[in-house]
Amino acid sequence: MLLKGVLQIRNVGRLYIIQLGAVFTVWLASYFKGLDLVFFILYIAFMLMESITNRHKKWLVAFTAALIWQLPGIILTLLIITELNYLMPGGEYYIFAMELWYTPVIPLVSLISTPFLPHPAYYNILLMMPIILSTYYLLGYALPAGCVYFHNKMIRR
């Protein structure tokens, strides 16, 4: 039963590969004006496609996959919000690690500028990113069947 559950969420590995690939690619793409925004769109398209691919699985399996995918962000967010990161070695750099982990969505976040808040909007959005991306991943379940017709044709389901 446990093995069956693990096998059903093995697509988490794909999510991590896409995430890590996107981190480095979007970073390098920022060298060329606007290219990082293009790769951001590619990233969110791929993540939605991964979600749609798993529509046939149970909702709990998808939720678990989203949770595991966002685990680094969830841990970092909790440590930063509670300021427990300062009790850990190198804790002052955890916010840097968080920003680097969410590099694929930074192009969109960079378009938001709020100079008059104690913390700028991008900082708060970064801390909410585990929730935002997990919810986004579960969007694949909410889409009507007609929307995923062409996707399913591509993956021959």
Partner: protein, 207 residues
């Protein structure tokens, strides 16, 4: 696994390699440059340093702010900084205020007082007339609230770090403060620039 699913999995690594080659080709002059940020960081990393230095060193400096003029560059540093002798840079605005950039505040305006908390500090004056300095300040102030990204390349205008905002503010006025033409600009690059003069320095000087 069908071809579509393979594309999704491998496209980013392939794009990364292509971009790495393109950027490397554009900056091949840095490959053998021992003063580049990448070389400095890799040397520091081998010595066990990864960030902006050891803040637990409580030795402060007594640098005077009395000679500051708008447009001056303030530098602060702690021992063990991975990317050079200085850890941080700010652009003096006047009225004891400095424009700088941090990860949790983005581009922001603060008091100059905290530059005495660093182990080493330096004040640099850019050798240009006041009108250019004023335009640089105006450009920098327009970036308030924008995002801090630690490894942002010099040639974009959406991601900032503490030294890039200063470099870009002057670069927009035709003054390039980075003699090394590097991909990134560390605070120490301003110290090494021939277009600045040292007004004050405490806690030692880089080699």
């Amino acid at each position: 696994m069908n071809i579509y699913r393979k594309i999704v999995l491998y496209i980013f690594p392939c794009l990364f390699l292509i971009l790495a080659v393109l950027i490397g080709t554009d900056n091949y002059h840095l490959l053998a440059e021992r003063k580049s940020v990448a070389f400095t960081y890799s040397q520091s990393f081998q010595e066990g340093h990864i960030g902006y230095g050891n803040q637990s060193v409580t030795e402060e400096n007594d640098i005077s702010f009395s000679e500051l003029e708008p447009g001056d560059i303030l530098l602060g540093g702690w021992p063990g900084c991975a990317y050079g002798y200085f850890s941080h840079a700010g652009l003096y605005l006047g009225n004891q205020e400095v424009l700088e950039s941090y990860i949790d505040t983005g581009v922001t305006v603060n008091s100059v007082a905290h530059y005495r908390d660093y182990t080493r500090a330096c004040i640099l004056r850019v050798k240009v007339d006041d009108k250019i300095k004023q335009r640089a300040i105006e450009y920098a102030l327009k970036q308030q609230g924008k995002i801090f990204y630690p490894v942002s390349f010099k040639n974009d205008e959406r991601y900032w770090n503490c030294s890039k905002i200063i470099w870009k503010a002057y670069q927009q006025q035709g003054i390039d403060l980075d003699a090394g033409n590097d991909l990134w600009i560390p605070p120490e690059a301003f110290y090494q620039s021939t277009r600045v003069e040292i007004i004050a320095i405490k806690g030692g000087a880089p080699n």
